[in-house]
Amino acid sequence: MIFLALLQTTQIAYNAGSHLDALMSRLAVGDKDALAELYHETRAAVYGFSLSITKNPADSEDVLQETYLKIWANAERYTAKGTPMSWILTIAKNLSLMKLREKKRHQDLEPEEWDMSFHIPDTAGNTEDRHLLEAALNILTDEERHIILLHAVSGLKHREIAELLDMALATVLSKYHRALKKLRKYIEGVEAND
């Protein structure tokens, strides 16, 4: 089972952990250039994962900013035992969940507003990119969305996703495949209409 998961994930792991580790060490001694480098390498992963939780671009933009401030302030506390990406995403996850909790406390949304379909601002990306992202946020379940984002954008391994989301590896794998299937169906549908 573990071998199977490794075979499937090694092909797409995109970020050499040791490079991020090196950046973390530089951050720990207050190197701002390292913060900028880390930001460029991981910002899409942080924003995408946060978006999959908050489903709100403005909130996730705040989370994006807060995440790097927190990374900057806590870099010395990071220990090399885990992967930097898991650590960064755990921070993003906690901040995103706090956003959700804040909202619940301060905004009494009407029930019909809860399931508002998702919309990316027109200023971001091109139309095709926006639509694909909107589709992912609208047609996937919460768990499928978290998993596909973590795997495709963050380059996390299925095993790491299982740990981060506190799910069984087999569940992560089956939801991942279901999510890919749904996205493929969406893209093929769009292309057929063009």
Binding site: Q11, R43, Q65, L69, T90, N94, E128, A152
Partner: protein, 324 residues
């Protein structure tokens, strides 16, 4: 389209839609004061409005304000965290911290310079765990945390305890720390007298009461002197199982010689080869006023039980019985 192509296309879409906040991050990082507490600067957006709102509140009349203030300042729950530093947070019904108290000298070091008042309990807990890690109170030699929640509403208290325990677990997992979290709901009135007598927190007193209910061979006094990690190890022994306390992770034994080493010492003392041993059982426990490994095994027609000092490896006591 292959899976790989589909993922790359999706990744490209997310990258294209991600806003660029680097300038803001760079501008703010030097002023990011409260190291482990997010959302402080969030108030900047509302600074102007806060002044107007504050003026309105004054005009709105002291009566309404007084009523709201009373409700917001009332203690609804007490959350305590104990590692060796013992910290107590009193919160209102909106889960905002009203008071953060250091219950021992180590806790004063942890709380020094932290402004927890007014924060929500989740952020405050996050900050405290960060500070405990930073000060080296949670490490490979002692990794147990006791989380206790007192609340007049036991359902709310249970829910809060569960959420906080999950959050602490997530923080520690994120920091790559293998910790053991013990969490429990506590009725403060029941344990108040005994906690005062032994100068320990309500949480620790309640934990000890639970252990004594499972195993009456211990005394309250001796257990009160043990660390949370030692108590956590005692609970990990199957004969001391405590249902009212939820445990995640494993308490570390790295401060001790380890079960394997204890076995070897017992076999050597008994003068037998490991290959002749069967029905071996080893558990960590508290006996003879110390942490010990309780090693039981059989060899030939003889049953052995050894108590090995977990710190030094010294044989504290042993019994040898010939099977009938």
């Amino acid at each position: 389209m292959t899976d790989r192509e589909l993922e790359l296309r999706f990744k490209k879409a997310v990258e294209a839609c991600t806003p660029d906040v680097l300038d803001k991050v760079m501008a703010e990082c030097d002023n990011y004061q409260d190291k482990v507490i997010p959302f402080e600067r969030k108030q900047n957006y509302f600074r102007k409005f806060t002044a107007i709102a504050a003026a309105c509140v004054v005009i709105a009349g002291a009566g309404i304000f007084g009523f709201l203030n009373l409700s917001a300042s009332r203690v609804a729950s007490i959350v305590s965290l104990e590692v060796n530093p013992s910290i107590e947070l009193k919160i209102n019904k909106d889960e905002e911290v009203l008071e953060a108290n250091a219950m021992n000298a180590d806790a004063e070091e942890i709380l020094a310079g932290m402004k927890l008042k007014g924060l929500d309990i989740h952020t405050a807990t996050n900050a405290l765990i960060g500070s405990l890690l930073k000060h080296g109170y949670i490490d490979e030699l002692a990794n147990s945390i006791l989380l206790s929640v007192e609340d007049e509403d036991s359902v709310r208290g249970d829910a809060l305890q569960e959420t906080l325990s999950e959050e602490i677990n997530a923080i520690l997992t994120g920091a790559s720390v293998n910790a053991s979290i013990l969490s429990q709901y506590v009725d403060g009135e029941v344990v108040d007298a005994v906690s005062q007598e032994y100068q320990i927190s309500h949480g620790k007193a309640a934990l000890i009461e639970h252990i004594l209910a499972a195993n009456s061979n211990y005394t309250f006094e001796e257990l009160s002197k043990l660390s949370v990690n030692e108590l956590s190890l005692i609970i990990s022994n199957p004969k001391n199982q405590v249902e009212a306390v939820k445990a995640t992770g494993e308490a570390t034994e790295q401060a001790y010689i380890g079960a394997e080493q204890a076995n070897m010492i017992a076999f050597a003392h008994a003068g037998i080869e490991e290959s002749s041993v069967y029905d071996l059982e080893v558990e960590i426990d508290y006996e003879y006023h110390m942490m010990v490994y309780d090693v039981e095994f059989e060899s030939g027609d003889v049953e052995y039980e050894y108590f090995i000092n977990a710190m030094t490896g010294e044989v504290v006591e042993y019994e040898k019985e010939y099977a009938e």
